[in-house]
């Protein structure tokens, strides 16, 4: 963080732009998207309200903190490879994280 402050003059945080809640589907436990912010990384990446994210970068997302922890470990511009259940079918999406406060 200190290094980052020296180089950029501020601390940047990676941001996805979703609201989630844990759910169980036949494929397992995951996080359902209840909100996708306009103009956010999530929207640009094609995520939809109702998508159930099962895993991100290979990490199962059985609790909401797991997703937040993963995002916090990355920088803006970092990539999340998501395993999603949409309409009962398994799909994969890659989302490039944005920056908190930026749109």
């Amino acid at each position: 963080v200190v290094q980052e402050l020296l180089e950029r003059g501020r601390v940047t945080r990676a941001y996805l732009g979703v609201g989630v809640q844990p759910v169980t589907v036949s494929q397992g436990r995951g996080q359902i998207l209840l909100a996708v912010e306009d103009g956010s990384a999530a929207e640009r990446g094609g995520l939809l309200v109702g998508d159930v994210i099962l895993a991100a970068n290979g990490t199962p997302l059985s609790d909401p903190d797991a997703l937040q922890g993963l995002i916090d470990s990355l920088l803006p511009g970092g990539e999340l490879a998501l395993r999603i259940v949409r309409g009962g079918e398994n799909i994969e999406r890659a989302v490039t994280l944005g920056e908190r406060g930026a749109s």
């Binding site: 809640q21 759910v23 589907v25 309200v49 109702g50 259940v85």
Partner: protein
């Protein structure tokens, strides 16, 4: 003092539980029967899962089985050995002037006993249309959901709120009569249900933003499951009416006289889908 009052108090104390709903509050409850049914206020059991603590310190998870927010009652189920079940009285026999006892966990005091006298039984003038047992018992927030008993220790009401009323110091305690609790329990299982849990969302469809209800849980073997609804589906209309508020699904269910047509979006939302749900009476204590 009435002979044996201490024993009565002890039995009441043992049939009273502390109900914890995390940060959303806490209160008391009454062990209503030996199967592990606890009656409390709906405003105490705010979450589907609560923690019940017995008089002896044992703690158990409880599941809210049935609630009526309008009447402020909730039925919670849990399993524990050696329960002391409350004796339930007939609230229609309660008369003004009668000695009553309240047990609860006010301000963190576990199993605190307070006594009072019944002032009236019926609606509170200018305040409620529903019937309450009104007594000058000193109640604190932790009493909510706990028992009000007669001098023989029979539970005649569920302590629910305090109102400031005509010259009664500390206010008047209001309890939901035990017979109203019996009616609440008898109603259980008579309301039709779809069998889904939903959350309100905003959804864009056909270039317009609309309110929807996203399905986050489907009851096993429920009408919704048989109608092939899935977690993630976004319900947008029922019975031909587009949703405008999050209550609209339950209103449509209550008003339905037969199978209910539900329109919803799924997946990438290119089409508006429709399914017919054959509503069922709510299963009691599944």
């Amino acid at each position: 003092m009435i002979p044996g009052f201490g024993e009565l108090g002890e039995r009441l104390r043992r049939s009273t539980v502390h109900v914890g709903a995390g940060a959303e509050g806490s209160g008391s409850g009454v062990i209503w029967d030996a199967s592990g049914l606890v009656i409390t206020n709906a405003h105490v059991a705010r979450r589907p899962q609560v923690e019940l603590s017995l008089w002896d310190g044992r703690r158990y998870p409880g599941r809210v089985d049935w609630r009526d927010d309008a009447r402020d009652l909730a039925a919670v189920r849990f399993q524990a050995p050696g329960l002391t079940v409350a004796a339930i009285g007939d609230s229609s026999k309660v008369a003004p002037g009668e000695l009553v006892v309240a047990v609860g966990n006010p301000l963190g005091f576990v199993g605190a006993l307070t006594t009072g006298i019944v002032h009236a039984v019926g609606p509170v003038g200018g305040m409620t249309r529903r019937e309450y047992i009104q007594a000058n018992v000193r109640l604190a927030p932790g009493n909510s959901g706990g028992p009000l008993a007669d001098a023989l220790g029979r539970v005649i009401g569920i302590n629910t709120m305090v109102v400031l009323h005509g010259g009664v110091p500390g206010g008047l305690g209001l309890a939901i009569p035990s017979n109203a609790v019996r009616r609440f329990l008898a109603r259980r299982g008579t309301r039709p249900t779809v069998g889904v849990s939903v959350r309100p969302v905003r959804v864009r469809f056909r270039r317009r933003e609309a309110p929807g209800l996203v399905v986050v849980d489907i009851g096993r073997g429920s009408p919704a499951e048989r109608a092939s609804l899935m977690v993630g589906d976004i319900l947008v209309a029922a019975g031909g009416k587009t949703f405008e508020t999050m209550d609209d699904l339950s209103v449509a269910v209550e008003n339905a006289s037969g199978p209910l047509r539900i329109q919803f979006l799924r997946g990438d939302r290119t089409v508006l889908r429709e399914t017919t749900v054959f509503l069922e009476k709510e299963a009691a204590a599944a």
